[in-house]
Symmetry: C2
Subunit: 232 residues, 2 copies
């Protein structure tokens, strides 16, 4: 009986994968909000009702694909880190990996974007949402580790908190790529700015602050914020 249950588990998991695969296919040609349950069902060659057996609703399905997206992203980050020596180069490799991720898997990148632009309330998140958050955390850990490496090998200034800096870089890089991807064509023809150069130079720009020189008194060159604190 265990083998039967096991087979049933496997078949169930296989069908789950089939649905997610179909959803990915549909998302390659259609936008997320113009995709319909019927589209997914047709692509998966299943009845529409069956989708509701394996997933709560379309949000749930999309979150399943989003989880795959975060996995792919984290793997790219790790791969980038392991190919470089100094911490600064490692964190730059993460940025380049993120750019490649957005270019080569635009569907995944869009899902990550959408996930990031939605509020994730503390602990009332759904199970599949938590999966995504966990994977995103692992990606952040990879970045924080690289930053710590940089602090240790002196390629990154030591007054930075690794995790806070990782979050900062993640936010900046994401915003930069998203802007270039969506408004890039418009910017290119209005201001003669190449999207590729924009993000590459942008990553270098961020790198300056990582290695850069707020050695002792940043308030001298930069106005402190309202609270009076200037840097972590």
């Amino acid at each position: 009986m265990s083998s039967i249950e096991e087979r049933q588990r496997e078949e169930k998991e296989q069908r789950r994968r089939t649905i997610l695969d179909a959803t990915e296919s549909v998302l390659e040609t259609k936008d997320r909000d113009e995709m319909t349950m019927a589209d997914i069902a047709e692509e998966a060659r299943l009845s529409r009702s069956l989708l509701y057996v394996y997933f709560e609703d379309m949000d749930d399905i999309v979150l399943g694909v989003t989880h795959r997206a975060f996995q792919s992203m984290r793997r790219r980050f790790q791969s980038g880190v392991t190919q470089h020596d100094t911490g600064l180069r490692q964190i730059r490799a993460v940025g380049d990996a993120y750019v490649a991720f957005a270019q080569e898997e635009p569907t995944y990148f869009d899902l990550v974007s959408e996930f990031e632009s939605r509020a994730a309330d503390p602990e009332e998140a759904t199970a599949r949402m938590r999966q995504c958050l966990a994977e995103a955390d692992r990606a952040l850990e990879v970045m924080a580790d690289a930053i710590q490496n940089g602090i240790d090998d002196d390629s990154i200034r030591a007054d930075l908190d690794p995790m806070q800096t990782a979050v900062t870089l993640w936010g900046c890089t994401h915003g930069l790529i998203q802007l270039a991807a969506n408004k890039g064509t418009g910017l290119e023809q209005r201001y003669e700015l190449s999207s590729a150069a924009l993000v590459d130079d942008g990553l270098s720009f961020l790198g300056v602050s990582l290695a850069g020189p707020p050695l002792n008194d940043p308030t001298e060159t930069l106005p402190a914020d309202q609270n009076g604190n200037a840097q972590a």
Copy 2:
């Protein structure tokens, strides 16, 4: 007859404003994708059909409110710039203004976020979409001017292209605030990072690169990208 036509124009414009006002009210409690035409009509005390006389569809209405959002944002940017002297302080003021914008008018900020996350195809954009793009461009001009001021008064390094840097800062700042706003509570309890400190420190972090020192050879400290070019 001109007075009659004029009155009709005014009434028409007034009704348009009424609809946009109602939409804003609804958006303060409901998310954009759970808002319905019936909600707007009820809030505006009009019949649902009438909405289609003044706007194409809900996207069109939302774009109208989005235009207001961009206007408010640009005004805040300009106001921030005029209150400071050096270019570096001006651009920092724009960042602070953006943070205040996101905090004090979260509905507007969400609309800007959504607009930025959608692809704006070159010249097949709708009229109201172009209005938003134009307003965003004006905001970018404000930033670029501030950066140019900084280059002129030596508070910002001179090897930066003002417009490209404006776009870069805009993307980074937006990504940073969006991340803090949506994932902030989660980050606070998992890593003891305050959202406010995250964005404030993040802005300072960006300021470092603006004033910072890639004076002659950035390729020495930073790995060049695939194309071999390092900085604008």
